[in-house]
């Protein structure tokens, strides 16, 4: 995995997520997808593929929910 492209990660609050998919469409490296499972509201929540996030923050801004997505960045020591 490319070092630079792996400097971030996202945490998705699967119960707050409404499965709108805007983050999935927006993510430049396309490292998000909608889960096959349903959350307790009955939506397919977004999930992180686990690698490749650049911490660009775009998914955070397109998400209509206040805390649906948290974007994290790896601290460079």
């Amino acid at each position: 995995m490319d070092e630079a492209r792996d400097r971030g990660a996202v945490a998705i609050d699967r119960d707050e997520c409404k499965g709108c998919g805007l983050c999935v469409e927006a993510c430049p490296p396309r490292v998000l997808r909608l889960s096959g499972e349903l959350n307790h509201c009955g939506y397919h929540p977004a999930e992180y593929l686990g690698a490749g996030c650049t911490a660009c923050g775009i998914c955070y801004y397109v998400c209509p929910e206040p805390g649906g997505i948290t974007v994290l960045r790896r601290q460079v020591a």
Binding site: C20, G21, P66
Partner: protein, 500 residues
């Protein structure tokens, strides 16, 4: 998950401007009530971020509209008001003018702003009110299920344009930014959209500009946001985003329509809004100039700091009800109080009952409406019966008759019968019965000094003959009260409910 890893730091997360929990919901107290993919959620988030960036949470007041965004106050931990449909700009004006240091945001949908609230937005913009308007244009009435809005695109099908919007029948999409750009006053007008990542980021910047302008006191700013409503449009959220980007922007071109933030002069709101106490002077209601002008030089007496007289005067038309109220207000003013006088105009003005509300207060008056009087002057029996139930316990009632109706005497208010019409008749004119009551009130309460009354008479009574008669009536009213208090056993003066 990742947050457990100490080497990861949050770079974008839930804004602290949001309440930690949204209390209106029983469960899912982190979720908004918006549909999946709704633009309102994105705009609210961008607004939260702008408030946070500018450090204005403690002085922001959000005016939420009627529409899908009606619950704005449930989400943002700022000052919050929710207003009637379309009235946001009017309320925002009032809030800003009375609290010039606040940052006032009127959040509105296109039904709210461009249909029912068209007058409010045009005039607030034209006055150059120092407020920030966020105009969320989704080209439809979302909350009520998809009726045509003035912003609906030509050909667009809605529940009220089932064959599509036809300009010959429904007119053309209303372009709010273009319309407001014809006005001189607005400082900042920009149309942005939520149709792509880039557009969303630009929307964030525009919202920040609109707030920043207000922080700098620069006058009216409006940001129009083209916003998806996937539910009513019948599109999935990604398609709705595409529709905003590719279709809506053809009718509503993006861009800046006004930016005078570099040249605009900061508004000195704190200076332009007078203190309530200055109003009498500004309105030219200074010391009275009356029949002989002699009283002009009398210095106002010092007001009683706790004074809060809430007076209802009622009777039938022709008894001088409104004038009695005016005397009181005028005298109160000249004694240095804050006063209000609210006459009741209506179909009952002729022949029926007539009334007015008067407030005389040591502090600025919040409302001229007296819903719980502590003084009632009832010039006839229907007036007594109508207003007695609203009296504050222990209040004073002066009633124009020889005695009090038996069933009213136990009301808890002290009812003093003063046969003012009869007394006035003996003085030569029943018309001065109201002034007899005025004299009685002053004698019973001492609420206003003689000098203030003198000035009020001078000001309001311009004919010598009436002036003399009124002075006699005042004295007669005072004498009537003195006679009553000299005879405390008089049953009709009873304060004790048991005596009713």
């Amino acid at each position: 998950m990742a947050s457990d890893t100490p080497a990861m730091a949050v770079v974008h997360g839930r804004s602290p401007i949001f309440y930690r929990r949204f209390d209106r919901k029983d469960d899912d107290q982190h979720q908004t009530h918006y549909c999946p993919g709704c633009g309102h959620g994105i705009v609210t988030k961008l607004l939260a971020e702008a408030i946070d960036t500018l450090g204005i949470q403690d002085r922001t007041i959000l005016v939420s509209p009627v529409g899908c965004s009606v619950f704005g106050y449930e989400y943002l931990d700022v000052g919050n008001i929710q207003v009637a449909h379309g009235r946001g700009p009017a309320v925002a004006t009032a809030v800003k003018r009375s609290r010039p240091d606040s940052i006032v945001v009127s959040y509105q949908g296109d039904g709210d702003l461009a249909a029912i609230g068209t007058a409010e937005i045009v005039h607030a913009a034209n006055r150059g009110e120092t407020v920030s308007v966020i105009f969320v244009n989704n080209a439809i009435y979302g909350m009520t299920g998809g009726q045509m809005a003035p912003t609906t695109l030509l050909g667009e099908k809605t529940t009220t344009t089932p064959r599509g919007r036809d300009p010959a029948v429904h007119g053309y999409p209303l372009k709010v930014c273009e319309l407001l750009a014809t006005l001189e006053a607005p400082v900042f007008l920009e149309r942005v959209a939520l149709g792509s990542n880039k557009q969303i980021m630009a929307t964030g910047r525009a919202l920040r500009r609109a707030l920043e302008n207000q922080v700098h006191g620069l006058g009216f700013s409006l940001v129009e946001v083209l916003s998806p409503c996937p539910t009513i449009w019948g599109l999935d959220p990604a398609e709705a985003q595409t529709f905003v980007r590719e279709t809506m922007t053809r009718t509503f071109p993006l861009g800046n329509f006004r930016d005078r933030s570099a040249s605009a002069v900061p508004q000195r709101l704190a200076v332009t809004v007078p203190d309530l106490g200055e109003l009498p002077r500004i309105l030219g209601l200074g010391p009275a100039s009356g029949v002989d002008g002699a009283s002009d030089t009398v210095a106002p007496a010092s007001p009683v700091p706790t004074a809060d007289h809430r007076i209802v005067v009622a009777g039938f038309g022709g008894q001088g009800v409104l004038l009695l109220g005016e005397f009181l207000a005028e005298a109160g003013l000249s004694a240095g109080y804050h006063v209000s006088w609210l006459p009741s105009y209506g179909p009952q003005m002729r022949s029926g009952t007539s009334n007015c509300h008067v407030r005389i207060s040591a502090v600025p008056i919040d409302s001229p409406v007296v819903s719980r009087p502590n003084v009632l002057i009832a010039l006839n029996e229907p007036a007594l019966r109508k207003f007695l139930p609203s009296m504050e316990p222990g209040g004073l009632v002066l009633y124009n008759a020889d005695s009090v109706p038996v069933d009213c005497a136990g009301s808890g208010a002290g009812i003093t019968p003063i046969a003012s019409t009869a007394i006035a008749d003996r003085l030569g004119s029943a018309k001065v019965g109201n002034v007899v009551m005025l004299g009685a009130l002053l004698e019973a309460t001492g609420m206003l000094p003689d000098s203030a009354l003198e000035r009020a008479l001078h000001r309001l009574v311009t004919r010598e003959r009436w002036y003399e008669l009124d002075r006699a009536a005042l004295q007669a009213g005072r004498a009537a009260v003195r006679r009553m208090t000299a005879a405390p056993a008089e049953p009709s003066l009873a304060q004790d409910p048991a005596m009713g």
